[in-house]
């Protein structure tokens, strides 16, 4: 379909502010009387605070107050506490001090005496599952967000003994599901493999720390926060701050990176709001980079095992996967469950079982990071397919194609049909651009100490949601104000999806004003900007709002100029009679008329089905123009996947273990393309993150003291310019998804997993098919593999250097 805005590049309205330094992030705001907050972080991985003596600190000149756990709301476990008397990891905030300046606040923290009772702790899930092993809570060691209860599960010594040191023991799971008949599947297999694997935890490393600033005025809390999402976390933040949602003004026009860590509300951001209420001064809390690592979140580490059977032609007849999640001390994110979902989606095993357990450890919150679970699975499975292809003497693309999902394939336990899947098309498009047939001949070629590796990787994430609200106002000056509550994590999709409304209304993009970034810009209830859902979900909400506006324009024209609404068309910012071009109203005229008519036209009447947040926004906007507002009730019964496929050409120095990427090609299956340049930036950026995941980044905790070893960029190594190719080739399948009115799907997350798995596949290929059973693959591992020396870590170990 020919569109005038969809699929075209444009300059997003916020990009100029980013290049001029005018873009204001949470720490860039100043208010009269603003003071500074510093946090006291737990030095122990598991402890009870017996006593806090802050008398000396509070006597210091310039110190304005202290915020204690008793001053803030507490939530039932396993929710993350704001402040706590029972710290569960090194770096967990216990209290906060406010002072006129930051130096004084820091000095005051030094004067606070805390009496701790140390408790046993663990940073390794298997240790806690072992009989008699340490537990994070006295009566619970397993649980995760979305599971109704925390409980204690111990495996038997026999479970451990039977598995030995090189295989994952598989005791009682926390959850499981099954599809078909595993025994039958394995009996039909030509090749059965049993692989144990570990993927290390790694941080989000958002460039903007979780700094926040807050103040209160006339009963309202003004809250400057770094968040990916705008409307979605508002009710949660309101609950955490202890204020009615209508009295919370959340200001978050820009977010300096989130990658999942700032998708929903996170507790530490609310501390300045509580402190400000207590001392009646605006409070700024700046987090240092080290504090980011101490109390920030990370992608969970995974210890897993898969038994997988292949037919002679490569088809997977059975897959039995077990996943242990190295959860933090609190709620966490169900990565372990997503591993199973992704296995079912991308590889379509004919028979399958997923089992998993999420074990609390004395680590900070583990939360979603780009492809949570799905990308860990990609890292494990794509090199494993290579290994199977080698054993079955199959082409590496053939083994992928024969197992690949297509439109209508079924997924997960419920066997939901897939609305559109073009992973094979993406794979073939990448292969053609990469020159697979020629490049694969270079596999294993050696020049001096350098060996060529050719890798291929794919990944997936669900890509959309439904049921949220769209809102726009056509003002009497003819401008179209599109209100978007999705958030701004840097993908420009807030703007790209708003163009769907402009497309439907046939208006000039220059006449569109985007309202966003602050609650008091009257935003609709929207999903969070996470889970690769924005493009799909928000193009639907903007579509329904525009359709509502269109209908109202036609009705107003009919009432004013005579005839029936369907006698009129909306185009070029006018509503015009089909039969008589002279019978026409401009948007400006229609907006004035809407105000005159009132009722639903100007927002004076509000549909009951809208979310409360949307209703409040419509109330505030009522009478200002023609209001287009609607809840997205477009049917959505099928599963919407985002998929991506990538190829990588590397040179691996087998003497140093260092690799260089010579070529990278990735193709996205994301439905109709909304914004090509933005999509290209996402594909490349996801690729960069994937390279870090595969071979650079990991979180390490000292098992003796529970201390983090990575508290700076130089230790945790997010990729730099020099780690990635200076040019990355990108493309897209560009086939519409039927469940979106303009065919759009999301795509952010698999763009990381396809690169991570392609790099692992390439390293493995350079080494003649060596499968590492571990992510990231570090240079010492490569050198050891080449020399056929044992690795320095135990197969199941987490926290390896």
């Amino acid at each position: 379909m020919a569109y005038s805005l969809i699929g075209k590049d444009f300059t997003p309205p916020d990009v100029r502010a980013k290049v001029t330094g005018k873009a204001k992030y949470a720490e860039d705001f100043r208010v009269e009387g603003m003071v500074f907050v510093k946090l006291l972080l737990s030095p122990m991985p598991n402890a009870k605070v017996r006593n806090i003596d802050a008398a000396e600190a509070l006597k210091m000149k310039g110190v304005l107050g202290i915020l204690l756990p008793e001053d803030v709301p507490s939530f039932p476990l396993p929710r993350d506490p704001i402040l706590t008397m029972e710290p569960k990891y090194v770096g967990q905030p216990i209290l906060a001090i406010a002072a006129e300046d930051e130096t004084t606040a820091s000095d005051a923290l030094e004067k606070i005496k805390i009496d701790y009772e140390p408790l046993p702790f663990t940073v390794d899930p298997l240790q806690s599952l072992y009989p008699g092993g340490p537990d994070v809570y006295p009566d619970a060691n397993v649980g995760v967000r979305g599971m109704p209860e925390m409980k204690k599960i111990k495996w038997t010594a026999k479970d451990f003994a039977e598995a030995g040191d090189t295989k994952l023991p598989m005791g009682e799971p926390l959850a499981e599901w099954k599809l078909g008949d595993l025994d039958k599947g394995f009996s039909e297999a030509q090749l059965v493999m049993d692989e144990t694997f570990v993927t290390a935890a790694h941080s989000h490393h958002s460039m903007e720390p979780r700094s926040a600033m807050a103040y209160w005025q006339n009963g309202k809390c003004y809250f400057h926060v770094s968040t990916q999402s705008q409307s979605y976390p508002l009710p949660l933040y309101a609950e955490m701050i202890g204020v009615a949602p209508k009295d919370l003004v959340m200001i978050s026009e820009f977010c300096g990176g989130g990658f999942g860590s700032k998708g929903s509300a996170y507790v530490v951001a609310t501390i300045p709001a509580h402190m400000s209420k207590k001392i009646n001064r605006p409070c700024m809390m700046r987090l240092t980079r080290a504090e980011e690592y101490f109390l920030g979140s990370r992608r969970t580490g995974i210890q897993g095992r898969i038994k997988i059977g292949f037919r002679k032609d490569g088809r997977i007849t059975a897959a039995d996967i077990y996943v242990v999640q190295q959860n933090g001390a609190t709620e966490g994110f169900p990565d372990f469950r997503n591993v199973g979902g992704a296995l079912s989606m991308v590889y379509q095993p004919m028979n399958m079982r997923w089992r998993g357990i999420s074990v609390f450890t004395n680590l900070p919150l583990s939360t979603a990071q780009r492809g949570p679970g799905q990308n860990q699975l990609a890292c494990m499975m794509e090199p494993l397919l290579d290994k199977a292809a080698r054993e079955l003497k199959l082409d590496r693309l053939a083994i992928r194609s024969i197992n690949a999902p297509t439109t209508g394939s079924k997924v997960e336990e419920r066997q939901t049909p897939v609305s559109s899947a073009y992973i094979s098309e993406a794979l073939m498009a990448s292969a053609a651009k990469f020159g697979w047939n020629e490049k694969k001949k270079l596999s294993g070629q050696r020049k001096g100490s350098k060996v060529t590796g050719i890798g291929v990787g794919r990944a997936y994430h669900p890509a959309g949601s439904a049921g949220f609200d769209g809102l726009l106002v056509i003002k009497p000056d003819g401008k179209i104000h599109i209100h978007t509550g999705i958030g701004n994590l840097g993908t420009y999709s807030y703007a790209a999806t708003s163009r769907v409304a402009a497309e439907v209304l046939g208006c000039n993009w220059e006449n569109v004003v985007l309202e966003r970034g602050r609650t008091d810009n009257h935003l609709p209830w929207n999903n969070g900007q996470f889970g690769s859902n924005t493009s799909f979900t928000m193009s639907r909400t903007n579509y329904v709002a525009a359709i509502d506006a269109k209908q109202k324009l036609q009705e107003i024209a009919a009432q004013t100029l005579g005839g029936k609404p369907e006698d009129y068309v909306v185009a070029e910012e006018k509503v015009t009679a089909k039969a008589d071009a002279n019978k026409s109203m401009t948007f400006a005229e229609a907006a004035k008329k809407a105000i005159e008519l009132g009722g639903k036209y100007s927002g004076k009447e509000i549909a009951a089905e809208l979310n409360d947040l949307t209703k409040r926004s419509v109330e505030a906007l009522a009478g200002s123009g023609l209001i287009g507002v609607a809840k997205d009730t477009i049917p959505m019964k099928d599963h919407v996947p985002a998929l991506a496929a990538a190829f990588m050409h590397i040179e691996l120095d087998i003497e140093t273990g260092k690799w260089e990427i010579l070529d990278y090609v990735a193709t996205a299956d994301c439905g109709t393309v909304l914004h090509p340049k933005g999509l290209a930036n996402q594909i490349r950026g996801g690729g960069v993150m994937g390279i870090g995941m595969a071979a650079l980044e990991r979180v390490v905790y000292d098992p003796q003291n529970g201390l983090p070893a990575n508290v700076g960029f130089y230790q945790s190594k997010p990729p730099s310019y020099l780690d990635v190719p200076s040019e990355m080739q990108v493309g897209w399948v560009d086939k519409p998804d039927p469940q979106n009115p303009v065919g759009v799907k999301g795509v952010g997350e698999p763009l990381m997993g396809c690169a991570a798995s392609a790099l692992l596949s390439a390293i493995s290929d350079a080494l003649g098919g060596h499968y590492f059973n571990r992510t990231p693959v570090m240079p010492d591992m490569i050198v050891n593999a080449v020399a056929k020396r044992p690795q320095s870590y135990k197969v199941l170990a987490v926290n390896t250097q």
């Binding site: 300059t11 997003p12 916020d14 990009v15 100029r16 502010a17 980013k18 290049v19 001029t20 330094g21 005018k22 873009a23 204001k24 992030y25 720490e27 860039d28 705001f29 100043r30 208010v31 009269e32 603003m34 000149k61 310039g62 006129e100 300046d101 004084t104 490393h205 958002s206 460039m207 903007e208 720390p209 103040y215 820009f254 977010c255 300096g256 990176g257 990658f259 980079r289 840097g490 993908t491 420009y492 340049k677 933005g678 930036n681 996402q682 490349r684 950026g685 960069v688 993150m689 700076g712 960029f713 997010p718 990729p719 730099s720 310019y721 020099l722 990635v724 200076s726 040019e727 990355m728």
Partner: protein, 205 residues
Amino acid sequence: MATTDDMAIGRDPVTRRRFIKSIIASGAATSAAAYYLAGCSDGSAPAAGSVERLITLKVNGQDRRVDILPNETLAMTLRYKLGLTGTKLGCDRGECGACTVLINDVGHNSCSTLTHGVRGRAVTTVEGLEGPNGELHVVQQAMIDELGPQCGFCTPGQVMSAVGLLKANPKPTRAEARQAMAGNLCRCGAYDHYLNAVMRAAKSA
């Protein structure tokens, strides 16, 4: 209520009084007064024999009088006393480059530069790149054309490193640009687009 830093006047009346008194004493006009904030001040009086507190900085072509501490970093002075929040703090220890500014046309991590050390030297921040009528610097325009930024937090540092590179080497190769920009981390991974922008700017300059 004021929410922009250029409206924020003295936080602590005592400090503010002392500050104004000292300005009067020095007989100097001040452009910094309007931005004075206690973010990095300890509120104490200067010790006898210590370095001078009230100094003049050359920032973006203007002389700015500012009261600073002996251990104050340029990033904190720019952000909390001169209202120049375009310079970002990503790590405060010279690892990420988000705080890059030019000092005498050479890129520096302002988080790891003492303010006292830049007296008499020309400091350029991202706010100082635009022309008198708001026209963008070629690097800024190229960053927009190539859609360089994603989240944008590292962008001012990337822009400043690119401007510094092009001053030293107006026609870099892509490989040279990659090396020159390597001190600027971008977690969104927009490196390719930033490099495209540097090369575009080099071509159009």
